[in-house]
Symmetry: C2
Subunit: 455 residues, 2 copies
């Protein structure tokens, strides 16, 4: 039996039981049920609570054993001690558990003992489990949402190509909220907390062969089994890009991680070496991981690191060029012949170097001319920076750039800084599926990821 | 006559003439007049255009010489050749000019010659000038706005403490738009373009003694007179913090700068050394400069670099701690005695280390307890990170934190990531004047600036 067969059912469940279901809107389980219903999950949903006959129109069961059906995912939204009690009872029909309850290893020796007992019970019963102390799964492919946070507090991203794996639930919520807010999607998000059973390596193995996942983003406090991780990641990067943020790199962060998910961060240098060996692209900050998610939703890695920069504002072009060079990307000049051809088609005051500055006289089509002509000169990717001051620029440029990006086969990243008006204009680009970045630095971080993270 | 007397009138003008004024909404000058009126400028406004008797209810003059009044600022919104023609005519009543017109040094030899002639005329007539190829002044103190970009395209920040000096107009517009959008203010913004006369050093000299300016942010492509700059900056940093972003640090950016404002970027190392010598805090990116503006609106520099981190989400606390250590800040542990005191007052599962994780059980007052108790232990500044998932957290925390910040005399920075809901919650904090940052990295960049940029 491969690991894929092992945990694949978490990502295509036909039945979900919610242990601790409640009609009380103040309970976490109420929010989970609401999210599952909102998400349009197509399988069976079984609320479980001995105190109710029915919750939100669904028949309620006193315990999982009463359900005459296989339960692919049993979500445990009950106190830690009750988790153990229930799992120790008749649960032969449960394949997988998502234990959101906290009060385990992260709280100290007493919790650690509880977690050891939990593991023993799970092993004995052959139940695979995510958590405890986690949010579980948000999945735009199977329409599952086990997060106990309301969607008006944390927005849910639409379907995209990147799957996110994380120990930290608050990290999962934060990045989902921000990606949704910036118009970017995700495939599947897994928050596995203390990792009593399912860990990042299990998930990577599954996602390696998952067609809905184009790339994987990892938030790592600790890896328990380094050998397993290396094997899984090395196989995965043959098929799709894997980026990772290791947190707890320095002592204060490591200290915090230990009381967060009970993680032992270990020597950062060991992680760094493992990432390099496996071919994982390491990112250095939360922002870089978010930028990576946005760009990997649309593009796979670039063939080289020669960046073409096109803008309509001189200052921002310079900032992008600086940031590129400092990140280890190259911004080579445009050959004279191409400059000549470009000058015929671009605004009279345009500066035809790299960066190309189309100036305030720019029209939509100038961006496309510039891309068409200059891209022939061996550039590997482009950063197209749009300031929306120029009066002749229109949101119609969005589809033109998207169409060109589709046809040219090279990554084109959009940089569109500014406030309300610019965000509205940029939303035309986001709507086409183009990755849009809101600062020069952010666009360059994404470009760096596409070039393998360059070190 | 000191330089302050020389250019101070640009920042408290009693009369402004708009050369090239027009009732045609498609003209840049139309937008300038509209912005001046919207801004509530209290002095006289004189439209100048031989083709009109009156524009927007204001008497229109054929040329500046016809106005029987001193003109503190004459805004030139006419083609380059007309600028020269008018300045060569009867303009004895003009003290200062803001020449927004492009077509000078930035376009090559022909334009360079025009600019040389412009300089000769200005010198002969004793007129001080900003530009050409610039946006001029946005000033929340004197209510002047000479920018030719509509305020629905680029938002205008409210009054704040930071003044921004920049060669690049698009940079000025971009940072103003973003600061306004993030609820941060500015004192005065000057975009001086090609610097035919007034340059960064003149502006720094004026702002050194300007009570409305608490700190200065510089965007530098090039400095013409290094000695003058060093003298002005060295005097200024005795009174208020000065931060600078040097762009065109690397060859491609320098190339672009030369065709942008005709700037010769020069060796970056020379700038770096000059900044250090003058005591200027150098920032490394656009994002860092923006973060600096936000934090310096409220705080002056911290006394040391010992950072206290308080959060309600474990993952984000770790990310902040990592970023602090990597930036050269310190995140020292909380002494045992203080931990004991804190544990009595904080949620039962709270992790009382540094970072302090108040967990999802947090109430508003826990943040205040934590600040009160832990701040006694020698920390120099705090980063307070708020995730808005915890159900008992309310926007009322904003005033509580602000009040504590007012009383404790140490900088407290807010980190509040997330999408729509979080931004709304965070706006309660922004409204109190607290600086709010939307990623862990951003908050740490600001903290780094408060610690002198640490190198």
């Amino acid at each position: 039996m491969t690991t894929k067969e092992n945990i694949g059912f978490f990502f295509k469940p036909e039945s979900i039981a919610l242990i601790g279901a409640s009609p009380n809107p103040e309970k976490l389980s109420y929010t989970i049920l609401e999210n599952l219903l909102n998400m349009g999950f197509q399988g069976k949903i079984y609320p479980i609570n001995p105190g109710y006959q029915e919750i939100r129109g669904l028949k309620c069961y006193p315990n999982p054993g009463e359900i005459e059906d296989r339960i692919d995912i049993a979500i445990f939204a009950v106190p830690a001690s009750i988790v153990l009690e229930i799992l120790d009872g008749p649960v032969e029909n449960i394949k997988g558990a998502i234990i959101i309850s906290s009060g385990f290893r992260e709280i100290g020796p007493e919790g650690k003992e509880m977690e050891t007992r939990l593991k023993e019970i799970l092993d004995k019963k052959g139940i695979r489990a995510m958590g405890p102390n986690c949010l579980g799964i948000y999945d735009t492919v199977s329409n599952v949402d086990t997060f106990f946070i309301k969607s008006d507090k944390v927005e849910r991203p639409a379907r995209g190509g990147v799957s996110v794996l994380t120990q930290s639930g608050s990290f999962a919520a934060m990045i989902m909220d921000e990606l949704a807010n910036e118009g970017a999607g995700v495939a599947r998000v897994v928050s596995y907390g203390n990792k009593v059973d399912v860990d990042e390596s299990d998930c990577i193995e599954f996602l390696t062969d998952d067609e809905a996942t184009k790339a994987i983003a990892l938030y790592i406090e600790s890896v328990g089994n380094g050998r397993k991780f290396l094997a899984a990641a090395s196989r995965c990067v043959q098929k799709k890009p894997v980026v990772a943020l290791k947190v707890g790199r320095k002592e204060p962060g490591a200290r915090a991680a230990s009381s967060h998910t009970g993680a032992v961060s270990g020597r950062y240098e060991a992680y760094e070496a493992a990432f390099r060996k496996a071919g994982i692209i390491e990112v250095e900050s939360y922002e870089e991981l978010k930028d990576a998610c946005k760009v990997l939703n649309r593009y796979s890695l670039a063939e080289g690191k020669r960046v073409l920069i096109i803008t309509d504002g001189g200052g921002i072009g310079i900032s992008i060029a600086d940031a590129c060079e400092e990140a280890g990307l190259r911004v080579p000049e445009i050959p004279d012949e191409a400059v000549k051809r470009l000058k015929e088609k671009l605004p009279v005051f345009a500066s035809v170097k790299n960066p190309i500055d189309l100036t305030g006289s720019v029209r939509d089509e100038h961006y496309i001319y510039a891309l068409q002509e200059a891209f022939r000169e061996g550039y590997d990717l482009a950063i197209v920076s749009l300031l929306w001051g120029p009066p002749l620029l229109t949101p119609k440029i969005a589809e033109k750039i998207r169409d060109f990006a589709d046809s040219c086969g090279k990554p084109i990243l959009i940089c569109s800084p500014g406030g309300k008006f610019s965000r509205e204009m940029a939303s035309a680009l986001t709507a086409t599926g183009m990755p849009v970045f809101f600062t020069p630095d952010s666009a360059v971080r994404a470009a760096k990821v596409l070039c393998g993270g360059i070190k």
